[in-house]
């Protein structure tokens, strides 16, 4: 794989006395879609925000975040600001809270254009209309003067994408952009994302809890559990040959046609309390493969093959299907 655009190494975020993100490492290559999948408490949203240093002041970040070779953790704030919305853009789950309700959509786009591309006046407005058109908002020119609350849910998400992409970023960070949307609208937005990725030669990091979306939309995937990275690799490999019990558990939890009205091989128990983490591997208490070694120390991501890494010390048991959770 050619040099990755974004390289995260040993990212750790500490807030107070909990560590919601621990030792997370992954890469994003040019033009690829990386899916970060995890459930609540996995730290996926915090990871994303940490990249752009959008965490609250009380959060302490450690580790390396390399963007095209530059270390973002040591970048001066003005340069960081130039990066945000410039080369790296971010969209969130709830457009209504992420968009400024008192500014028109057009204004929010031109703001970005002015800030990052130096466009002003008519040139900016023209480009803004192009952007709205690009994201599929009909009647773009007129809608420049609409406020966020005048859009429907799906349209708002498109508007948010427009604002984020106005300056032509190389990387888009998307934090559960479709979770709050209806499934047909979600479908539209995901297809839009893929089309934009193509047209703008962009990379995308897509945070989601939905493995189905990962399967259909992403090239590579990283699985997070309780703040730790459990498995990374190409979507093909990870979904066909998962080598972490949690990944397998997640896959088994998704209802599929072939097992309709039968028991799902669900993962027993619940995620650990972040204040009271189990020793060693965080997944061990729920894992059918767990042994004493698992509780001794936190397993780290180890490469199994090119572009397939797992944090489980028994990856081959998972692959061979020796694993069966009580149903």
């Amino acid at each position: 794989m050619s040099a990755p655009l974004l390289s995260i190494r040993n990212l750790t975020v500490r807030i107070g006395n909990i560590t919601p993100v621990q030792d997370v490492s992954f890469d994003v290559g040019a033009g690829e879609v990386l899916g970060i999948v995890g459930e609540s408490g996995s730290g996926k949203s915090l990871t994303l925000r940490a990249i752009l240093r959008l965490l609250p002041d009380v959060a302490q970040t450690a580790g390396d975040i390399l963007w095209q070779g530059r270390d973002l953790t040591t970048l001066a704030e003005p340069e960081m600001r130039a990066l945000r919305g410039g080369e790296i853009a971010i969209v969130f789950q709830e457009p209504m809270t992420a968009l400024n309700p008192v500014l028109t959509v057009g204004r929010q786009i031109t703001e970005s254009l002015t800030e990052h591309l130096g466009l002003r006046g008519r040139a900016a407005r023209t480009r803004a209309a192009e952007v709205l058109d690009l994201v599929g908002i009909p009647d773009a020119r007129r809608r420049l003067s609409s406020y966020p609350h005048e859009f429907s849910g799906g349209m708002r998400q498109r508007a948010m994408l427009g604002i984020a992409l106005a300056a032509g970023p190389k990387l888009l960070l998307a934090d559960e952009p479709t979770t709050a949307l209806d499934v047909t609208i979600q479908d539209q937005i995901l297809k839009l994302l893929l089309r934009l990725r193509q047209e703008m030669s962009m990379s995308v990091v897509l945070v989601t809890h939905d493995l189905g979306i990962v399967a259909e939309t992403c090239d590579r995937v990283a699985v997070l559990y309780s703040g730790g990275m459990m498995e990374t690799g190409s979507v093909e490999t990870v979904l066909a040959r998962p080598s972490h019990p949690y990944t397998l558990g997640l896959i088994n939890s998704v209802p599929q046609a072939k097992n309709a009205r039968q028991h799902l091989a669900a993962i027993p128990g619940m995620p650990p309390d972040p204040i009271d983490l189990p020793p060693g591997c965080r997944f061990a208490p729920r894992c059918a493969l767990a042994s004493l070694d698992c509780t001794r120390e936190q397993p780290r991501l180890r490469a199994l093959a090119t572009d397939h890494a797992t944090a489980c010390i028994y990856p081959h048991s998972v692959v061979r299907g020796d694993l069966s959770f009580a149903s």
Partner: protein, 335 residues
């Protein structure tokens, strides 16, 4: 095969006045339910599928008399549900229960699990005073909650556990029908899987009839015997689950199936499953309410609202094209 019909709804209509600005002469109304007809047979799981604004939650609440209807009929075991009052209504509540979507709001923050369950047993005189503690423990076990849950308050539990508390509460009155209003939508995937397993077991062990409201087709497919698809306040398609999923008749169902994420690599084709947005519920389109977004719409659709065309096996759809069974435009899983 033909089980007895327990609950039947005929042409339910309910509008809500829209909160228009002061001074607007026309007080438009939102038709949340625009003539809903369906039936629920003993022992089956009927899923109501639809996106936001289709009226499925309003339907669920109307069926338990939380919301009153403008017109239409609900019959349960022969009785007219809308006319029930006082004690008769209380009896109905025992037999048809509802579990809500939000596990954080549907439990009284100041009552322990034990208190909630005991109250139900007490008010409905289900077991004499002495037997209540035992029964409460049984319910807690039935919902797969930890044994010490009885003395704890809701805030000490996770979302998934709270939903199970809500289920235990609903089951405490020994209902025949359980209406589940998007009960897994707010849960993580792994917790959702546990919940689905629980529901399957409860149906098998208690002979429950379940009306499962959801927007997630995958979950619906996993649980339902029959499926009813709703759009803008009407049931646009209904039938056996296998039939609806494999041979959807209505273009909206086809679009829903195409749009649902599948565990299929690179399965997303270029074109969106369904174009456009949901029309404003204040201005429901003429004729077939789906026609503005329908890829198969033709002249008749704009003018004339279709009626339910019954296909074989009770699989029917409200579409002018359903007379000839449309070829499944949606990709089908696992075949």
């Amino acid at each position: 095969m033909m089980a007895e019909v327990l609950l039947r709804a005929d042409d339910l209509v309910r509008s809500f006045p829209s909160r228009g600005f002061v001074g607007r002469s026309r007080r438009a109304a939102v038709r949340a339910l625009n003539g809903v007809t369906l039936s629920l047979a003993q022992g089956e799981t009927l899923a109501i599928v639809g996106e936001s604004g289709c009226g499925k939650s309003t339907l669920a609440r109307a069926l338990v008399r939380l919301i009153e209807l403008d017109s239409g009929q609900i019959r349960f075991a022969g009785a007219d549900v809308r006319a029930l009052q006082g004690d008769a209504l209380r009896q109905y509540n025992r037999r048809v229960q509802l579990v809500f979507q939000d596990p954080y709001g549907s439990l009284n923050p100041r009552m322990t699990v034990g208190e909630m369950l005991e109250e139900a047993l007490h008010v409905h005189s289900i077991v004499p005073g002495s037997g209540r503690t035992t029964r409460v423990a049984e319910l807690v076990a039935l919902a797969r909650l930890p044994a010490d849950a009885t003395h704890r308050l809701p805030h000490e539990f996770s979302g998934g556990q709270r939903q199970r508390i809500a289920i235990a509460r609903a089951l405490s009155v020994e209902p025949q029908v359980l209406i589940a209003d998007e009960i897994v939508s707010a849960l993580d995937v792994s917790v959702q899987a546990q919940m689905l397993n629980l529901l399957l077991d409860l149906q098998r062990d208690l002979g429950l009839t379940i009306l499962f409201v959801s927007h997630d087709l995958r979950v619906v497919r996993h649980l339902a015997h029959r499926v009813a698809v709703m759009y803008l306040g009407r049931v646009v398609e209904v039938g056996e689950a296998d039939s609806v999923f494999q041979s959807p008749l209505h273009p909206y169902t086809q679009a829903l199936l195409r749009a649902a994420p599948r565990m299929q690599l690179g399965g997303r084709s270029e074109n969106a499953a369904l174009a456009g947005e949901l029309p404003s519920p204040l201005a429901i389109p003429s004729g077939c309410s789906f026609h503005p977004r329908c890829p198969l719409a033709f002249d008749r659709c704009r003018v004339e609202a279709p009626s339910l065309h019954a296909g074989p096996d009770g699989h029917s759809a409200e579409c002018h094209l359903a007379e000839r069974v449309a070829s499944p435009a949606g990709r089908v899983e696992g075949r």
